[in-house]
């Protein structure tokens, strides 16, 4: 079309060429050749600076149909409204031909919005890297609805990435730099998960497999090079069964002789009952999060975030309240960044802001001291775990569009 050849001289007219051409085709079918007055109004989120470009495209395309756009009043008027509906852009033309008005319309894509963020460095700088996102998956492949459920936990193994949602465990393999869904292991029919469901994936010592825990269910997931049972699909063998076994509390200090701890999860709620095995020597309140941390003196302690909002430290058979945690949310995870002494904590900020932020803290005594500036997150942190290497934290994030991603959060020493 002659009009489009001219349009190519303008800056990036791409998104508007097709709707302009289609709309002018429809207008021409109504109006026929002759002069017409063209009026454009913008009822959409199209940036104002795009309007002259759209006007030029429409004018040129109309001209190609023999409709010359007149500056002054004409017997024929074309009112084009750049509108938008629930899905996308909608361009509506009201064509006045004498006393008659005809309406025609065409879909037009809206331009994506840009986003930006900034981080102010402090003693350490937190950085995040998206490990996995179901946004790309949803748009690239046809996934069953269960593969887009509420993501509970994720874990990178030697054989791929495991993602557990409220309906299944999915295994992803890296292909051409992107994760592609390789296998799915739906949970068998079982009791309903509680609202605010939770789960955890614990790596096997060799890093090949993992154990998955969720309310009332436990799955052993092993990667083998050969199929060896009826439950094996490809290289993965996943066996799930009803279980109220306690969930391991992440602890990368076992190599230093620190005992592994496990906590009993209340399968009908969203928290741990407070019963920990082996007993730490004191009664614990019900809690949302727990982490074994290394104290600056080299000893180990258990940090628990109670359902009453208090963060407490269990050390030497005593439980003490930690100050400076008023802004912490329910989830935290321990890691060793190498920047300070002992273990650092990453906690999500509490509050009702649209988006979450993460902060790194240190516990030199019984007060949490911020180490970093807040790291802005594009959504809500719904779960956080220490990565198996102990040097980073995995955060599950849900954005406003209800899409999930798994971010790996690391710290840079300043």
């Amino acid at each position: 079309m002659a009009g489009l050849a001219g349009a190519s001289a303008f800056a990036a007219p791409g998104p508007w060429e097709q709707p302009a051409a289609t709309l002018t085709d429809q207008i021409a079918a109504i109006l026929g050749p002759g002069p017409a007055h063209l009026e454009i109004r913008n009822l959409s989120s199209i940036p104002v600076d795009q309007i002259p470009l759209i006007r030029r495209l429409l004018t040129q395309d109309l001209k190609a149909h023999g409709i010359s756009v007149a500056d002054s009043d004409s017997a024929n008027n074309i009112h084009v409204s750049l509108s938008q509906d629930w899905m996308d852009g909608l361009w509506v033309a009201e064509v006045e031909e004498g006393a008659e008005t005809h309406v025609t319309m065409v879909r037009a894509r809206l331009l994506p919005r840009s986003s930006s963020g900034s981080i102010t460095p402090d003693r350490v700088t937190l950085r995040k890297q998206v490990e996995w996102s179901n946004h790309d998956l949803a748009s690239s492949v046809s996934l069953p609805p269960t593969s887009r459920g509420q993501v509970l936990a994720a874990l990178k193994t030697n054989a791929g990435l495991a993602v557990m949602n409220d309906a299944e465990i999915s295994i992803y393999a890296k292909s051409s730099g992107a994760w592609t869904l390789e296998q799915r292991f739906p949970f068998a029919a079982r009791n309903t998960l509680p609202r605010d469901p939770r789960g955890i994936l614990i790596s096997t010592p060799d890093g090949n497999g993992f154990t998955a825990f969720t309310a009332g269910e436990k799955c052993n997931c092993n990667y083998t090079t050969q199929s060896d049972s009826a439950h094996t699909a490809g290289g993965w063998a996943v066996q799930c069964h009803a279980s109220d076994d306690p969930w391991p509390i992440p602890n990368d200090l076992t190599a230093n002789g620190v005992t592994s701890l496990s906590a009993f999860y209340n399968g009908a709620r969203d928290y741990f009952s407070g019963v920990v095995a082996p007993s730490p020597g004191v009664d614990l309140p019900p809690f949302y999060s727990a982490a074994v941390i290394q104290r600056p003196a080299g000893s180990a302690a258990l940090l628990v975030g109670g359902i009453d909002g208090k963060v407490q430290l269990v050390e030497n058979g005593a439980i003490k309240t930690v100050a400076g945690t008023r802004d912490w949310g329910s989830d935290f995870a321990a890691f060793q960044s190498g920047c300070g002494s002992g273990t650092q904590i990453i906690a999500s900020a509490s509050g009702e802001a649209a988006n979450d932020s993460l902060l790194a803290y240190e516990l030199p005594a019984l007060e949490a001291v911020p180490l970093s500036a807040p790291l802005a997150i594009d959504g809500t942190v719904t779960a956080m775990f220490s990565a198996p290497d102990g040097k980073s934290v995995l955060a599950v994030v849900r954005n406003a569009a209800n899409e999930y991603e798994v971010d790996r959060v690391t710290a840079l020493c300043n």
């Binding site: 509906d85 309406v103 309903t192 469901p197 359902i307 208090k310 979450d356 849900r398």
Partner: protein
């Protein structure tokens, strides 16, 4: 004296991701006050908490599985099969079966149903229709088709509404209805232990109770949203979810379409918007809002008194009745419309809807829900008593369908109105559903630290 509340006002139309920074707490009792009856049809709060549909609408108005896990249509939408979710039980422990669903639907829909017949086939519910039913999954999410137990195991009619929802009936003491958590709810137990619904409270008393912590959630009528915000009450406002419209009879004196068109021209929407509704909501002459269709501006809402007189053509119609709900705001709206129409040569008497069931004109509130405009239009028309399948998703065809309905002048759109609620500071994760009612199943109460 009113206590000062935290300064915040949330607009539900904006993004409100569930704040899981601190996880929701289980337990506690929520006190909710409302002006009407909790079992009122449609959309009484108790109905929506106790009963589920085969389908549901998510917060954005998209159709999602509920008591049915999936569905499929055959024969060009003349037949639909809905597969029931296994393992769901009514509050009395009896299992949800396809037979129970069919009995419920047959009891709730006796005439003008979207389907011709509904049958139980194994664990599925099968709908057949003489006409295509393209919007059936969306329609089944509506209050009219929520599933209630009709017969207990011993063949008796349940003493109280019994469903599968997150809350179940516990007690009714005077105007206080108590609902308790359904521990075996298929969606997971709600966070709250119980909800006390205090019914038939005036707005003034509701707000007073909220200010002295005797209530957690109260209503805010659209015309008082600004006032609530000025009093620094935390208010949640939905996008427009209700169309206020005049339903016009097409018989008797109004069988002449010119007379109906004259009425449509004579209404002064601006006065309703500015004076009565205090500039809340949106003036409209279309059935669906601009944000949903993108073409609502093609229906101009301007008043044309001269045009109205011209359309009436010197005819003097007999006195007409305009019925409205008894609530003071609706009566005020009706009075103002009567005044508008008087200026155009009509003689209008205002009456209450219960006392004037066959009025010439009726003020109605119709639902504007459903993300997909075709479904939204079908739901709206069903609310107006018209079972009209809307098969298209093409905007131009949808525009023509809406244009054809409006051209009859039996529905005159006036305003798109939001719903609003005020909460106290201890209420967590308060969100509104697609119909503007609160999603109490996911609400929790702040723990005292």
């Amino acid at each position: 004296m009113l206590r000062r509340f935290a300064i915040s006002c949330f607009v539900a139309a904006l993004a409100m991701p569930g704040g899981a920074r601190t996880r929701p707490h289980y337990g506690g009792s929520l006190r909710v006050e409302i002006g009407g009856d909790a079992w009122h049809y449609p959309n009484g709060l108790a109905r929506l908490m106790v009963l589920d549909g085969l389908t549901a609408l998510d917060a954005d108005g998209n159709v999602t599985p509920a008591l049915a896990t999936d569905w499929q249509s055959d024969d060009k939408d003349h037949r639909w099969e809905f597969h029931l979710r296994p393992g769901v039980a009514f509050h009395d422990g009896s299992p949800l079966t396809s037979t129970a669903v069919v009995m419920s639907l047959n009891l709730s829909c006796t005439e003008n149903c979207p389907w011709t017949a509904v049958h139980a086939v194994g664990s599925s519910v099968v709908f057949t229709g003489d006409s295509p039913m393209p919007n059936l999954p969306a329609l089944l999410s509506q209050d009219a088709f929520l599933i209630a137990l009709t017969r207990t195991a011993d063949g008796q009619t349940p003493a109280n509404p019994t469903g599968t929802g997150p809350f179940q009936f516990a007690a009714l003491n005077g105007s206080v209805l108590t609902l308790t958590a359904n521990d075996s709810c298929w969606q997971g137990r709600p966070f709250l232990d119980q909800i006390q619904l205090i019914q038939n409270r005036s707005i003034r008393d509701q707000w007073l109770d909220l200010s002295v912590d005797r209530s957690d959630v109260v209503e805010v009528p659209p015309q008082q949203i600004r006032q609530a915000q000025q009093q620094r009450i935390t208010v949640f406002v939905s996008p427009p979810v209700e169309l206020l419209a005049i339903q016009v009879s097409d018989s008797g004196a109004l069988s002449n379409p010119m007379m109906r068109a004259a009425i449509a021209q004579a209404v002064d929407r601006g006065a309703l918007f500015n004076v009565i509704f205090q500039k809340q909501g949106e003036i409209t002459a279309s059935l669906l809002p601009q944000s949903r269709t993108g073409y609502a501006f093609l229906f101009p809402p301007d008043r044309g008194l001269n045009k109205a007189n011209e359309l009436r053509g010197g005819l003097a119609p007999p006195p007409l009745t305009l019925a409205a709900q008894a609530d003071p705001t609706m009566q005020l709206v009706a009075q103002r419309i009567a005044l508008n129409l008087h200026e155009a040569g009509f003689n209008i008497q205002v009456a209450n809807i219960p006392t004037a069931p066959r009025a010439d004109l009726a003020l109605v509130e119709l639902p504007i829900i459903g993300a997909n405009p075709a479904d939204a239009l079908a739901i709206l028309l069903l609310g107006a008593g018209e079972n009209a399948p809307v098969t298209t998703e093409d905007p131009a065809t949808l525009f023509r369908a809406e244009h054809d309905v409006l051209d009859l002048k039996t529905l005159i759109p006036l305003l798109d109105l939001p719903r609003a609620w005020a909460i106290n500071s201890g209420v967590r994760d308060f969100k509104l559903r697609a119909d503007g009612t609160p999603d109490f199943a996911n609400v929790s109460l702040e723990a005292t630290q």
